[in-house]
Each structure stands twice: as structure tokens, then as C-alpha cells.
Symmetry: C2
Subunit: 516 residues, 2 copies
């Protein structure tokens, strides 16, 4: 039972005569009443926020520059002090934090690959933080460890590995999952690197496409390969790796005496949403004995859709797969899995057998203590929200969500492909929900192709984006790519978005861009 | 306002005639009422859990073996299915998840370095998950990015760096923070490794104590140094590095032609709670031009205490410091900071300048887009709960908490040091809250020192621990260390713990151990 006044309404801290402080909360003696009141008032703030997030008359954000927030907004003071603030003030701080933030769950927030506010996922996170435990041992996270195990197996089945066999772990994001893949590949081919370092291996080279995520490059720097030993592959006009370029570069590397070890194929690139041809890449990996990793951080979700999973054909031939449920599947941040086909590598690569944590003489089956597989020690519980959403939606619920998002992006593509003032960055229907386009204000439409047009067009998207943020009505990303000047990258992963929100985005772009 | 019935009480989903499903929740049309009901019912489950967590008549855990939970406990089915479950069932799943978990906030949970359930921290996590955003850019996390910046500066001031200058980032745990320190050190001395790999550097060696955390070893394996190039330093009987051993091993490494690059000094070792003598180590680091990292994951919190911070004397001479507020400062998991004295290294080491995320033509000061400093791309918001707790407690509140925990551990130490049946693992008052001891059942007390006694004593702690877990009354860790057989490691970071809980732990150890 929550705490209520006799009248039945929730009791407010402010209705008491003296101010309360954190020392009045549990575990304080007789702290239960104030604790329940305090929690209830916070919940009121949060539920109001949730309600308004889905209300299209609410702004997506109330933009302020860093210096404005740092100077203090109407009493919202970010500075930390020596003395405690009252709980009343803490509630105000909570309200202000939300007020000056960005509503990533708003139906018109399209700025990132992770959008939306799934209510069941949210509930999962609330419970996770209340349980406040750590994934390293079964001892202190028995239920969560088993949920992780079952969910990873289910994901491996969906990838297509027989009986869902293999291994995996949830990690703090796709970049770390991709880093795992490189580490495990190195351990598979050159296990002595674990003890002797990179000096024990020949010069190893890695391959990934020009359009792939920058985390592959981060991993090659961090793990001691060096970014120069990451060879970038050419793509077609749609951003998909050209397999012949991979083979040519593998041969070239071998001729130089280097050892081609690892290929990353992206399933859903960050900007274009392109799916590399996995089967053709897998053929080359098999021919030259290289590890095949599929970075499905963004596109992995499509495996849940019978209609769209063919875009990842061949994924079952991968040695490892990154798949972020926190992107296309709408799971709250963070939730990323690295899946590995061969059992034992993850453990072999990372285990250090810490005696204080992974005692072998516990009373339960210590095979469930999965912490030594990780590069982390403590590990946040990222599984519960995902497991709970899966329970609540079923596999079919994820499928419906994904199909709907792809339908919406097709709607956007069809709406603008021939619309005056729009140019598509690449031709043809997008493979994922990424729709990449330029908006040309009327003043640019007559200009001949050339440097002036390029320079002016390059500035259009940032200007429109800035106006969007100032007005707070919607948010969408932009970037240049290779020689292409700034263009909008629209992505749809938000379950709250509808056709009318897509229409609204286009109206806003035209409203802000018309006079540029 | 939450949703209430006309009578004023909360309305239950079960009081409706038809079952509700996730598709009835927001963003569903007219989904607001069910959403508010659902959230309120979850909050009721969570607040009940919170209340019971602080009630000593509640068990710490209700232990079941993996196979028992996997077989399904009284209708609690972990398997995922194709079709959705009703929201009623989702609520049951939430209750069951908590029921079969471990109450890490319970006043008698002493099993890990991270214990306790801070109410303000909990509220911070609830808000964080409701805001559901990502730390990589100011654009979508303006308030959180600034909070992180201010808090890191404050932490650097407390470390003792002039004006709080330097750099830092919150990472997913101390192991990753320690990994950052090794990466940054390498970048400082051999920046070309970023592009050319480890082949561009001579044979580099790292130093850390035999008692240090295994994450240093994990980092040396992952980053391509190799665990053989991590040289373990001898410690005194209290687990503190012997500086002369460091210098001898540095000289030896140099004579072999290796390059000593990095020294980790631990401030608060995992098992003994030992503080390495930082000043003496810093002298050697300066003399031989090595990076000094202080792993204060566990002991960093003592910097908040005027009484205890002297144990980290010299920390201001470190080049980098790991400090986990989620341990000694009671912040919910995860919250770990890596602090770096020299500005620019973190960025230089990790930046890859991804155009789609870190556009330089944004309308705000992009120096606040901190994502490119990280090895992650997306990064969970770990700062808010910590910031909010600091607001609510003030610096003095953390100090009081830390002093209280150390007082309690002194109480335990004094209680058992001469008590019959107890042997301390090392002599003298512990430096941190770690109290390490053997309990000898009466049947072992007369045995002469020797193999039989060792073998039997080795089994005592695991047996007592198993009985504790089966009965669910309390939890404490044990492990061997070097040649020392299994002993209990008691640690106190839980703000709910009192002397009576310490007394209770001892009673339980004796109750379970008496007849062994």
C-alpha cells in the first residue's frame, strides 16, 4: 500500500510544518512514512512526465545553451554543496531536470536510433533499480542471471544457430559488444596474445566498410591493433560493402605479409541503414579463414520480422553478432548483446578467476557465475526490462513494432522522393528505416550543380535543425557522408510515431527551411 | 496526479472485467488511464519491496538452485513466448522476480562492496530511466552532461588537483575505469599505438600488487600488453605494496630492455581493504617516468572523510584515479568515474570524430559533446542519481556515512579480535571496512597447525555461507588469498547496518559453525 491521507489523496511533504531531509528517510527510525510520501511524490512527477511525453502539444525540448543552464535557470542550481538540501528542494530539482531535458519518448523525437518510451520497459528499469544488484554472480542475481541466459539462447535461436547453442553476454552498448567481437576473434586465432601481448602475433588486419560504425575503429585502437590495420572497404551507392573489394584487399594484405583476421559486416549502417551482403562476405571469410562478425546493433531487430529478416540472410554463418535491443526493439537504454557461436571463447578470452568472487566451492552450480566472461567486473542488470517486454509483447509484438516502423519509413520515402525541394541521398527504397535526404530551400533550387550550391546546401540542415531545437517541436539528425554535404537522416524506431508525425516533420522542415 | 478511483484509492487493473495488454498502454489511443493504473500498481509492488527491505524480520534472500528456478516456481515461468502476457501477469512476474532475488539493501546484506538501498539514489534511477537518454551529446542530454561535468570537477578538487582541473568520464564500472587508465597512459607515452598498434611500441610492462583487483590483469590482456607483461608486486602482511619491490622490478625490467610504463596503486584492496603507500610509489614513478594510476574504486570514498582521507595521501600526485561512488558512497549501481589529471588525453586517445554524432556545425558549443572521449558510443546516464544524492546529503552527508561505516568495522574488529574461536587474517585495525577473519568451530580449536587443520578450516566458511544462504538471514563473503585458506571478508558499506546487525552476523556464524 502506498501512503495516503485519511481523505484518500496522497499526502504531500509540503503539507508538513517542518522540512524533511534525507536523514528522515529509511533506514531512519520511523522513516517509513516520509519515505513512502517522498517516493509517491516522485512518482507523481514521473507519471506526469510520462503522460506529457505522449502529448503532441508538449514540446520535445526546451532548449538552453550550456552557459544558460550553468548560470542557473530560475533557481535550478547545478552546483553541489557541502550541506544537504531539503527533500522539497530535491523534488524541485527532479522537476527541473526533466523540464530542461529532452523528451526522447515524444512521438516527434527522431534524432537517434534509440527513441521511444516503452511503458513495460520503463517498469522493468524501475524494478531493476529497486533491486539494485549486479550480474557477476548467481549468488546475488539468481533470477536475472537465468533471465539473461534464456534470453541470449532465444536470440541465438533467432539468429539461426542450431538449438540456440553458443554463448553471449549483455554489455554496456554496441561499441563494447563490437569490441568483444574483435577480442574473441583474436583469442580464437592467437590465444597467446592474452598472456604475451600483441607481440606474439603477426601483423593482424581487420576489415570493415567505410559506412560502418566508428566503434570498430575504436576497438582496433584500444585493443592494440592500430587504426591503420583496420582496412576500410568500398561500398556501393547504397552503402553496402562490395564483396570483391574485400577479397582484393585480403589478397593485398596477405601479399604484404599481414594476416587478415576479422571482417565486420554491418547489418543496418548508422547513416544509410544499409545491410552488407552477409552470405557473400561469409564465403570470403571461409575461404581465407577469417572471423566474421555481424554488427547488427541497429539492424539486428529485423530478425524478429518474418517480412524483413531476409535482409540479414547469412547471419547464421557469422562467428559473432552484435544486437542492440535498445535500438530497433524499443528497449530502454542500455541493452546490447554480443552473441558468439562457439562456446567457451568468451570465458577463455576474459577469465582471470578472481578468487574473491568466483569461488569454486559454493553450494550451487557455479557455471551460472558468468562474471568472468566479461571485461567488466560489476555489470549492470540490463536484462530485466528486455525480458519483461518480451513477456508483455511476445515475439509477435516485437515483429509488429518493427514492421510498423519500416512501413512508416516507406511512407516517408514515398512522400518525399518526388516532392519539390527534396533530393534523396541514394536511390531506391531504404533497407532499414533510415531515409536520407536533402531539403533544398526555394533559393537553392535554381542553382547549377557546383561549389556554391554545395556550400549553401551544406548549411541548410544545421540551420533547420537549430531552429527545430529552438522551437522544440521535433528533432531529426543530419550529417555529411564522404563527399556528400550535410543531409537529413530520418530514422524511425519510436513506437509512438504515426504518419501524422511524419507529415509534421516535413511541414516543419519546410516551415523553417523555406526562407533560407 | 496519479490515477485514483472516485473513492480516492488507487484503482487496480484486476478490478476491470477484461484483461489488459501492453497494446492498451500509451502510446495507445485512450491508453492514459490504463498506463497510469499500471504504473501505480508497479509502484505499489516496489514500495512494498522497499519497505520490507529495511525490515529485519524479512529474509535477505529466499534461496533456490538454478534448476529449481528454471523448472518454474509456483507459476513463475522464465521462458519467453511468442504471444503476449496480460498486464496482470506482468505484475505477477514483477512480484516473483523480486521474491526470488536478493535484497542487497537489507541491513544484514554484507556480501559485496556495493550494498544498501539509498532512497534518493533510487529516486534518481527512476527518473533516469524515465528520461531514457544517452550521454554522448549535449543535444539529447543537456542537463545530465552538465551535471557530469560539474561532479567530475568536484571529485577532482577532492582528489586535490588544483582548481579541479583535468578530465574524466563516468564509465560502466571500475574495471572499465581501470582499463581507461592503461589506455590513456599508453596514449601519453606512445600515441602512435593508436594508429599503428602495439607493434609501434617497445615491450611495455605494467605493475600492480598481488592484492590488486583482477581488472588490471583483464585490461593488460584486452589491450594487447599480455598478462605476462603485468608484473605483480609483493605486499606486506597487511596487503600493501612494498615500494622497494616496485623499484627492484622496474630496474630488472629495464635491464631486460623492457619499458616500465604504468603503475597501479590500490587505494582499498578488494579483500584486505589495504591502501598502498601512494607517496612512496609516486616517487618511484617520477624517478622512472611512469604513469601512476590509483585504483580507488573501493577506497576513493574515504576522500570524503576528513578523518580517513589521509589513507590516500599522495593521491593528488596520480596521473589518473578510479573512484566508484557505487561502492563506499552508497550510490546505486552503476556509478564509476575515471579521473585524469592531464586534459586532452582522454579525447586524444579515443576520439574518432564520427560525423553523424559529433557534427562541428551545431548551434551550441560542441565542447560539451563528450561522447568521443569514451570507448563507448551510447553511454548510460550514471550521473543523475549521484548528483541528486550529493544535493540531498551534501558533502557532509557522505562524510558521515563513511565515518559511520568505518566505526562499525572497528566495532566488529574489536569484538572478535580476542574472541574465542576467531583468528584475524592480519594483525591490527583494518584500514578500510574490510575485516578478514577465520571462524574456528570448537572441533578445530585444539588441532595443531598443519595440513589437516588447513584443509578442514578451508571448508568452514563455504559451509557456513551455504547455511546462511539457505536460511536467508544474512550474507557475507569469503575467499582464500595466496596461501591462506578460506576466510570471511566482512565489509561494511550499507547505511542501514548498525551494531546490532554486526552482533547478529557473529551470532549467525557461531550458530551455523558451532557443530562443524
Amino acid at each position: 500500500m502506498l501512503f495516503y491521507t485519511e481523505g484518500g489523496g496522497p499526502c504531500h511533504l509540503s503539507s508538513f510544518t517542518q522540512p524533511f531531509y534525507f536523514i528522515d528517510l529509511l533506514p531512519a527510525k520511523n522513516g517509513e512514512e516520509q519515505t513512502m510520501q517522498f517516493l509517491l511524490e516522485v512518482v507523481e512527477i514521473l507519471t506526469n512526465y510520462v503522460r506529457k511525453t505522449f502529448d503532441r502539444s508538449t514540446k520535445v525540448l526546451d532548449f538552453h545553451h550550456p552557459h544558460q543552464l550553468l548560470e542557473g535557470m530560475e533557481g535550478f542550481n547545478l552546483e553541489l554543496s557541502d550541506q544537504p538540501e531539503s527533500l522539497e528542494q530535491i523534488l524541485v530539482d527532479c522537476r527541473d531536470t526533466l523540464k530542461y531535458g529532452v523528451r526522447t519518448g515524444h512521438p516527434r523525437f527522431f534524432n537517434q536510433l534509440s527513441t521511444g518510451l516503452d511503458i513495460v520497459g520503463l517498469v522493468g528499469e524501475w524494478l531493476t533499480s529497486t533491486a539494485n544488484t549486479n550480474m557477476f554472480t548467481y549468488e546475488i542475481a539468481p533470477v536475472f542471471v537465468l533471465m539473461e541466459q534464456l534470453t541470449l539462447k532465444k536470440m541465438r535461436e533467432i539468429v539461426g544457430w542450431p538449438e540456440g547453442e553458443g554463448d553471449g553476454i549483455f554489455s554496456p552498448g554496441g561499441a563494447i559488444s563490437n569490441m568483444y567481437s574483435v577480442m574473441i576473434a583474436r583469442y580464437k586465432y592467437f590465444p597467446e596474445v592474452k598472456t604475451k601481448g600483441m607481440a606474439a602475433a603477426p601483423r593482424l588486419v581487420l576489415f570493415t566498410s567505410e559506412h560502418s560504425h566508428y566503434s570498430i575503429k575504436k576497438a582496433s585502437a584500444a585493443l592494440g591493433f592500430g587504426t591503420e590495420n583496420l582496412i576500410l572497404l568500398k561500398t556501393d551507392e547504397r552503402g553496402r560493402v562490395i564483396p570483391a573489394d574485400l577479397e582484393a584487399k585480403v589478397i593485398e594484405a596477405k601479399q604484404k605479409g599481414y594476416v587478415p583476421m576479422f571482417v565486420n559486416a554491418t547489418a543496418g549502417t548508422t547513416v544509410y541503414g544499409a545491410f552488407d551482403p552477409i552470405n557473400e562476405i561469409a564465403d570470403i571469410c571461409e575461404k581465407y579463414n577469417m572471423w566474421l562478425h555481424v554488427d547488427g546493433a541497429w539492424g539486428g531487430g529485423l530478425l524478429m520480422s518474418r517480412k524483413h529478416r531476409h535482409k540479414l540472410n547469412g547471419v547464421e554463418r557469422a562467428n559473432s553478432v552484435t544486437w542492440n535491443p535498445h535500438k530497433m526493439m524499443g528497449v530502454p537504454l542500455q541493452c546490447s548483446a554480443i552473441l558468439v557461436r562457439e562456446r567457451g571463447l568468451l570465458q577463455g578470452c576474459n577469465s582471470m578467476c578472481a578468487g574473491y568472487l568466483f569461488q569454486q566451492d559454493k553450494q550451487y552450480d557455479v557455471a551460472y557465475d558468468t562474471g568472468d566472461k566479461a571485461i567488466q567486473c560489476g555489470r549492470h542488470v540490463d536484462i530485466f526490462k528486455f525480458w519483461l517486454m518480451w513477456k508483455a509483447k511476445g515475439t509477435v509484438g516485437f515483429e509488429q513494432h518493427i514492421d510498423k516502423c519500416l512501413d512508416l519509413s516507406a511512407y516517408l520515402y514515398n512522400k518525399i522522393k518526388n516532392r519539390e525541394g527534396y533530393e534523396m541521398v541514394f536511390n531506391g527504397e531504404p533497407q532499414h528505416t533510415n531515409v536520407c535526404f536533402w531539403y533544398l530551400p526555394p533559393s537553392l533550387r535554381g542553382l547549377p550543380d557546383g561549389e556554391e550550391r554545395r556550400e549553401r546546401l551544406h548549411k541548410v540542415a544545421p540551420k533547420i535543425k537549430a531552429m527545430m531545437m529552438e522551437s522544440g517541436t521535433t528533432m531529426v539528425g543530419y550529417q555529411p557522408q564522404g563527399e556528400k554535404v550535410n543531409f537529413f537522416r530520418m530514422v524511425i524506431s519510436n513506437p509512438a510515431a504515426t504518419r501524422s508525425d511524419i507529415d509534421f516533420l516535413i511541414e516543419e522542415i519546410e516551415r523553417f527551411g523555406n526562407d533560407l
